[in-house]
Amino acid sequence: MTNPPADSIPPPRVPHPASFRDPAGFVFTIDDVIYRQVNRSYAELYEQLMKSGLYAKLTHDSFLIPHTEAPDSPIQSPNPDRQSHYKTLLPRKLSRLSYPGEWCAAQLRDAALLTLKIQRLAMEYNMTMKDATPFNIQFDNGSPIFIDTLSFDLYDPAKPWIAYRQFCECFLFPLYLHRYTQTGTGKISTAWPDGIPVPTTARLLPLKSRWNAGVWLHVFLQNHVGSRQPAASEQNLRFSKAKLSNLIEHLQSIVTRLNPAGNNRSAWSNYYDETILGKAYLEEKERLFRQYLDDIEFADALDLGCNDGWFSKILTKTGAPVIAVDSDCQCIDKLYRDQNPNILPLCVDLTNPTPATGFRNAEQSSFTDRAPSDLVTALALVHHLALHNNIPLSLIADYLSQLAKKYLIIEFIPLSDPKATELIARKQSPTIDYDAAHFESAFSRDFRIQRKDQVPGTERLLYLLKKI
């Protein structure tokens, strides 16, 4: 790589709004490329990570995101970061970002297991993880991957794990609460981004959970000890590598057994199997859907109301990465277990999509900021938003126009359809402005109708819309 001319001033390295806690370095973006600066204060630990073989092992196992070291040339003397700068890393780019509030329990469980596997490996190379937060993990090719290269510290076998409490509060406790109350883990992670506190978890878990040895040790014992023990007196406690290995292994066995699959049927988990429209309807819709896909080009897709992911899977056959979204976490759980590397399944309620969160509302971007894709599909979705949630068609059209960069494949289900009738059966006031004409008028502001077909055997309409 050639050095820039001496008089050119490199762009300033503005840390990402979420990258301010760790003194080891920070993440910044220049021209849409994400870099990670390693500060001088972290130089020794970074070299330990790279030279001990831990980095090679972690990246070989696809546990840690691989990076290349970018040349130092962008750092010039006028740049104030020069004093602290040690190295600049160029991590492999991830196609999409997601956050724990959008994950199903199985995704949080796999992220937890990844954290524990990394901690065990790190200990073999005389390092330890200095934090254990799900925000250090993203989903890539259908599996979790650790993204914070600077999370490693030197391991002192005489000390317990500094991130133990954080691991429990961010991973283990939401999984326990889901196990005993079927709350899902996403809402817990959204409400407590730094982890649900030990005393809160102890109060929320039902009485029967006390029969579980893991709950007793990690929740109730920890709650009891934490409320009585001043932290200062703990500094002289001695520990050992064998003890920490046992503890991590114990956590691994607990989390592995917390298999959130369950046999619970959700409202939509057998929608296509049991719907009165059945297989013939699905086949006809799929035939039209495939025809539409042949007519258009798109680099990525967003499948809204994906249900079991039938159409998301069809979308991936074009090679495009797909974000598959449903408000039903059971559907997302099922789809995640298929381990399709091109599908990122996320549990998001479109009537209340993930907001921008963190300090200054700038640490994690909103779903609406992250989701826009070339193609958006919304099959059997609009009637729910319009009839169940009372969202006017014009507002639905506005929102989908925000999300669709090029095309929208959308299904309109008229009031005469049994599924629509079901939705308004208990509503007192007559529904107005809900018919194909109003639908087309609402969407015609930002879209042009490219194809319109009636799904044979039904009154449902399928549209291929092109963004104007």
Binding site: L221, Q222, S227, Q229, P230, L237, K243
Partner: protein
């Protein structure tokens, strides 16, 4: 002089609880080992008893 801060707060009682849990897990390990020893002693005793009976006409 530069002041160094811990990156995260381990939480009060978090070290002590790990010491206690590790002790319990260690204890459980020895109990399991002891129990397995007793079980294998009796299993082998019964096994040899039944093999001898089978051999006896």
């Amino acid at each position: 002089m530069k002041t160094l801060f811990l990156y995260i707060d381990p939480g009060s009682g978090s070290y002590l609880v790990q010491v206690i849990i590790a002790a319990i897990l260690g204890g459980a390990f020895w109990i399991k080992k002891f129990w397995r020893g007793i079980r294998s002693f009796f299993t082998s005793l019964f096994a040899s008893f039944f093999t001898r009976r089978k051999k006896d006409p």
